[in-house]
Point group: C2
Chain length 480, copies 2
């Protein structure tokens, strides 16, 4: 593979350029003709479909159902909850014309659907019989991004799901918020092999309009934290302005308790950054569009026929087990070119079948993530592929977990905080109760509170900023 | 069920009002706060998911892959193919602002994605190795509707899929256009139990920018034809302006041959209109969100316990066979209320379990489509439910086919044409080669050429409009 085809920079040397080359050259993504917008090519979309399918199964099992909401929201609705609107206002795309005519009221392209959904919920919900209401929407959100486009991480339109639930009481709503975060964590760990830290957002960093926000965060190799999913307890902040009320069994009316939550294709961005290497993508097996690529290797026509036949037989056997497998029979390309090509695309397991292997009834397994190769008997191959794919997943998850652990540090003063920040660490640091300290830390270092873990209480230390008595010890980092 | 809850008009007396009440009261749909836009509630979206899943399986089996395209298209791209742009221009929503700022170039909300997709294809395709390229997108299209909103049929945003393929030669592209129409027909017949007539659109009615358009049409009970899916042969009409070229094995460059095709949630509208009755929805079993509803009937606490237990056992057995089943255990509601409720929602099969049934180890089957009831042994019930659901589908399809056949008539003169049109018929009528006749017929009667079937050639008759020698005998009707 020529330099111009492969990735031309090292991940450790120019992370940003490495990321861009990797997503584009592996054909997951392309830029759309409008600044800030991207397109998903089939391999990229296939990863999203795997994530979607895994989440959909879990949503359905916990009593959620999917629906559809339109893209356009009238300005009057969007501005009904004032904090919420203020948070989104600068990024809203506005439709002002249809055909050659002006619209009477301008329409916002959905930055998120709380206001639209809850206008409807207030019509749909009459009594306790209608609750809980648990709906999810797979759609896109549109938020004008003025900074440089970064596929999956910073785009003006992104694929996501947004769940919206309504409950009779506070406790049930809060349980939903917690359950969903656990469901997200499980999905990210078991499908994408990404370790995450879960907890609460600070008052400053929570969703605009929420009572509180739960989050899962992970640390990227460039030392920036990535928020990978959030689950919001909305309390009655929306049910009051949007009149989401229900009559209980005694026919007494109350405002309902609400939640909203979402993950987006950011998850794919995180997966690429965490697992990729200098050769390109390294895909976790459970979401890889192709899990096993078979490369027939031959130098004579006689061998060719024999080896292509065996390749096809193995492919068919693997397909029966629903393994996503493909034989690379492209003519005029060398095995070496093919190895590089599929390595750049991150295919977890390569099976090489050459004349010498075949003489011994063997094939070669080459693993993408650790680049280890070994011989395998053709007999019993299918089961070994299944085991191997699980093992690759587990290894990738364990490796990433070890790195996250190593990069998570604790400090007790501001100097150490700044030193560790420059090393790209996720930093546990005590702060006091005064929101100004959090504000000043962000101003001075660009680091913010990423997550307040369950065990974050700490009243025995000093605030790294003002030296008053601390209250909590959250995790700080610079963020995406 | 009170009058205000059920459907208050007869399908034959006020079809339009019947349709609206049916889609809203059965909770498939609600209106969004913007004129022209609707929301899908979970039952409505579930039907769309069933259609999607069936198509996705077929698309994948024929080598198509899914991708994602953004909602916003720059004006310059949209206007690159002039006929195409002219066709959509009056219905385009334009984004002119983001936040408080004006956009330099205004952006169209995707009315369809040919122009955007082909800009990308021209970058992605270099040589014969990259062909055929067969991509599908599940998204929405946005086209400002000025007429009254009609859920699933006339809305400013609709869910659909749009397939786009690129081929090396004309023959392969034309085969794709035909294959896709066959795939659509199979899906509509086998999932929605709707009979369709397939063929070509006239020059006047074809997709703007296509060489020709294949279509499938069905006749609705109000005598209007519904276009249920189209497949377009684009020839090189887009590949030339968008520079979609490939180098062949001899390295000679040619413009590629293209197709595009789509079906939308109109299919759901057609299904409702064709199968529904005065009681509300009648859902074909394969797309029904709930296929079987079990109603326990009891008058004593002792019976209640026994009957609920049996209901649950039957539910569990049916679930193992992946039948979508639910027990209606709602308290304080009479069996009669429940019958009406699920009938309005169109659930194909109701199983009633009462004390007398149980004494004989029996239950009652009540079929929604023909309202027939009979006793069934509990022993072997699961297999009988499976058979019954298939039989209900077959019966619904046969009934609809018979009606379509009865309502398809042939005429030889304009007076008969107009008489039959008033009766709501699909009319086979000979016309000449002069497009003005088709134009005038439409002006005078609002009927247009819906579909030119394969056997439409007819040079032995007289044009119903000008009495010149006829060329073809297409099917006319007023359309949605």
């Amino acid at each position: 593979m020529g330099k111009e085809i492969g990735i031309t920079v090292k991940k450790t040397e120019d992370f940003s350029e490495w990321y861009t080359q990797t997503v584009i050259k592996s054909e997951l993504v392309d830029y759309a003709p409008v600044k800030g917008l991207i397109v998903l090519r089939p391999d990229g979309y296939s990863i999203w479909e795997s994530i979607k399918s895994s989440l959909d199964t879990k949503f359905a099992a916990t009593g959620h159902r999917n629906g559809f909401l339109p893209t356009l929201i009238p300005e009057s609705l969007l501005s009904k909850e004032k904090d919420h609107f203020a948070g989104f206002n600068p990024e809203v795309f506005w439709v002002t014309k249809s055909g050659d005519g002006d619209l009477g009221d301008r329409l916002a392209l959905r930055p998120t659907s709380e206001t639209l959904a809850y206008t409807l919920f207030s019509k749909w919900i009459r009594s306790w019989r209608d609750l809980p209401l648990k709906i999810n929407f797979w759609n896109t959100a549109l938020r004008a991004e003025i900074k440089a486009t970064k596929p999956f991480l910073r785009t003006s339109e992104f694929l996501w799901q947004e769940g919206h639930t309504v409950h009779m009481d506070k406790e049930e709503a809060e349980k939903e918020v917690t359950d969903i975060l656990a469901l997200y964590k499980k999905t990210v760990e078991e499908e994408l092999a990404i370790p995450v830290i879960t907890g609460k957002k600070s008052e400053k960093e929570k969703f605009v309009g929420a009572v509180y926000t739960l989050t899962m965060e992970s640390l990227m190799p460039d030392g920036k934290a990535l928020q990978m999913g959030t689950s919001h307890f909305l309390g009655q902040n929306f049910s009051k302005p949007f009149d989401v009320k229900f009559a209980d069994k005694e026919n007494i009316e109350s405002y309902a308790w609400q939640t909203s939550w979402g993950v987006s294709w950011r998850l794919i961005g995180g997966m690429i950054m965490i697992h990729g290497d200098d050769k390109g993508l390294v895909l976790p097996p459970r979401v890889a569009p192709i899990q096993v690529i078979i490369i027939p290797i031959y130098y004579s026509d006689e061998d060719k026929e024999k080896i292509q036949k065996v390749s096809q037989e193995i492919e068919e056997k693997l397909k029966i087990e629903k393994i996503r497998v493909q034989v690379d029979n492209r003519e005029q390309l060398t095995p070496g070119f093919k190895f590089n090509d599929w390595e750049m695309k991150g295919i977890p397991l390569r099976i090489e079948i050459g004349p010498k292997d075949l003489e011994q009834n063997k094939v070669t397994f080459a693993r993408r993530h650790n680049r280890q190769k070994d011989d395998q008997e053709i007999e019993g191959l299918v089961n070994r592929v299944l085991t191997e794919l699980d093992k690759i997943h587990d290894d990738m998850f364990a490796d990433a977990g070890k790195i996250l652990e190593e990069k998570t540090v604790e400090v007790s003063n501001y100097d150490d905080f700044k030193t560790e920040l420059e090393k790209g660490r996720l930093i546990k640091a005590p702060i006091c109760n005064n929101p100004e300290c959090e504000e000043k830390i962000k101003e001075e270092t660009s680091a913010d509170v990423r997550v307040i873990t369950d065990d974050a209480e700490d009243t025995n230390s000093k605030c790294i900023k003002c030296s008053d008595q601390s209250v909590i010890k959250p995790l700080f980092a610079r963020g995406y």
